[in-house]
Symmetry: C2
Amino acid sequence: MSVWEKLYSEKVSTLRPSPIREMLHVIRQPGMISFAGGNPDPQSFPVDLFYESASILKEQGKDVLQYGTTEGYPPLKSFLCSWLKPRMGRAITEDELLITTGSTQVVDLLCWAILDKGDLIITEEPTFVGTALTMHNHGAQFLTIPCDANGMLVDQLPEKIEKALSQGKRIKFIYTIPNFHNPLGCTMSLERRKKLVEIANRYGIAILEDDPYAYIRFEGEDLPTLFSLDQSGLVVHACTFSKILAPGTRVAWAVGNKEIIRKMAIFKQGIDLCSSVVAQALVYEYCRKGHLDSYLPNIVDHYRKKRDNMEECLKKHLPLEEVSWVKPMGGFFYWLEMKNLKTADLYKKALQKKVAFVPGESFYPNQNGGKNCFRMCFTFASPSDMDEGIKRLGEAMKELLKS
Amino acid sequence: MSVWEKLYSEKVSTLRPSPIREMLHVIRQPGMISFAGGNPDPQSFPVDLFYESASILKEQGKDVLQYGTTEGYPPLKSFLCSWLKPRMGRAITEDELLITTGSTQVVDLLCWAILDKGDLIITEEPTFVGTALTMHNHGAQFLTIPCDANGMLVDQLPEKIEKALSQGKRIKFIYTIPNFHNPLGCTMSLERRKKLVEIANRYGIAILEDDPYAYIRFEGEDLPTLFSLDQSGLVVHACTFSKILAPGTRVAWAVGNKEIIRKMAIFKQGIDLCSSVVAQALVYEYCRKGHLDSYLPNIVDHYRKKRDNMEECLKKHLPLEEVSWVKPMGGFFYWLEMKNLKTADLYKKALQKKVAFVPGESFYPNQNGGKNCFRMCFTFASPSDMDEGIKRLGEAMKELLKS
């Protein structure tokens, strides 16, 4: 027994590493084609435009090298307060906005502020494994709601909520990824959005609207955010520069009622004091120069082509009688469902053929489903890798179907 | 009652904002001279040299704008593994090092890994209020040990530990700032360092060695780190670029046994996934070009002069029969103790005269002392502000003594 073994907290006994992060060593094997991680394509990064913004390190050096306020770099906050207006339904005030280190931190901070061990969080099933682990570390239990092509089946909520409440459970928030869901790729319909907000209000349950992919829409029209549909202040909206600029900045934000934002900011004081001011200033300068708005269509166009490319490759190489999917209208992911094959078998065979994806089971917070599903990220692989990788995947499926 | 009120976690009921962070609005009053925050002097920032390192955003843009590994940006880790050798006593391996978002995050992560609500942490009394709040948020209780000019009175440890253990308490770690203590300014003697490590080993208690000021030494010789004196792997060493380069980077690190570092890294996955890669890459490039080592003496010289300046001003303006202090040999802080005056009275009067400091009570984790003490940061104020501010402080003291 190590010296640390007897010191560990209870939380360590249920600690699970992120399966996606842990796959990195698999993905890095030579010759491996990966559709696993949700990484943006480095080809989409505005390297030169972002480098331009470095001038702020010189011009405002004494300010941006200093400690910042916990709530965020004021010029960036000010920019976002107005830039967010279209999607938030109104201009945001500075005390409704908190800059965070990645939007993962929004989840962490909200859990600090409202979750006690054993409390319930309602999530879509499946849901994003990264944030589910954040909630799990805070001692959350999960009440899950299935989805179809129009997102969470919100009609199931009242009955499930009533049942949990009657069992004495406390339900703290509903976690949803309404746009281009991770891993499902689906988008919640307007009707369901309205119902969801109504139900949350009826029961006094908060909503965490995790919306990293909102701006990566390939077709169709933007739907109103849950935040904009809500009048009660119960919706915390999380978004990030990771997909609309670059994840290496680790600059993200939360928008919400000023009371909960203030509580989250106080917890953030004890967590990292403030997010990197240097990174925030670089992002701000990029935005101030107008690059965010002018470059974003390039990113969307780039990913639309990649989505189309994956759609084509899937149709070309996979056994269509065995596997089905819904073409996503935005975001980063395809979710594939197989009729007869088990994901575990496919995963093993696929790795032998040097192609990787994330098994569906990882996205089930109660680890009770997805055994015939898997997630494919279409943003990262190059066109030639896309074709070759999906060809290998098709071969793996066909071999398994024969055996 | 707000909609959030009934959702709050238990942790909110004991949540306390950082008094230093909350003083910001006081400090920003026009004409205020502040010795409160522990901010570096912006004049000490290597603005031009740091700006030079921005070239990495162009040259390695596709890499540094991408998600990074949770453990840290590999080139920076590699640099630190060898750069840390002198103070760590040996080269560090990559799995013994974790890059964090500020060294506050080291405290947060260690608490995640080993602290359950109600567990004891041993700290110096007084101790740094920021990290004490991090531990407090995790549900820590504090067993405190007084200090003298040679640091923590470690001889008191065995009896206090035995007593707590006999009461059924679990003691998880000893939190210490051995060099140029915040707020005391004192440095732990070599003899006490050896004893401290021996005692921690005897009882199987971890040590968190928080060492942000180690490199800001004005005179005398470096003493060995607790990490280097320990053979058991029970010491986690925390350090940061905040004082040796710039806090706006928010790049810091933990060094420790690979088992605990691994656990902390898994918790970090759920907290912010990884620290800003952009900020880490800029710091790395600055280091790679040799600026860290070549510029550091400028910072130390700069602060030595400021320390000397404060020493002079204190002697010149304060009523010496009333107030005493120990001249710090490094770091950022003076700790002043008054014979007859109460800090609360002085604080009120000082604010009227537009001069600010941090009252001593803030640094007592059990809020039971320091009522005649206060902390003065000597790094931030300009020379003219230093003189004028301390003059005002002396006047405030003299007026109070007369009344």
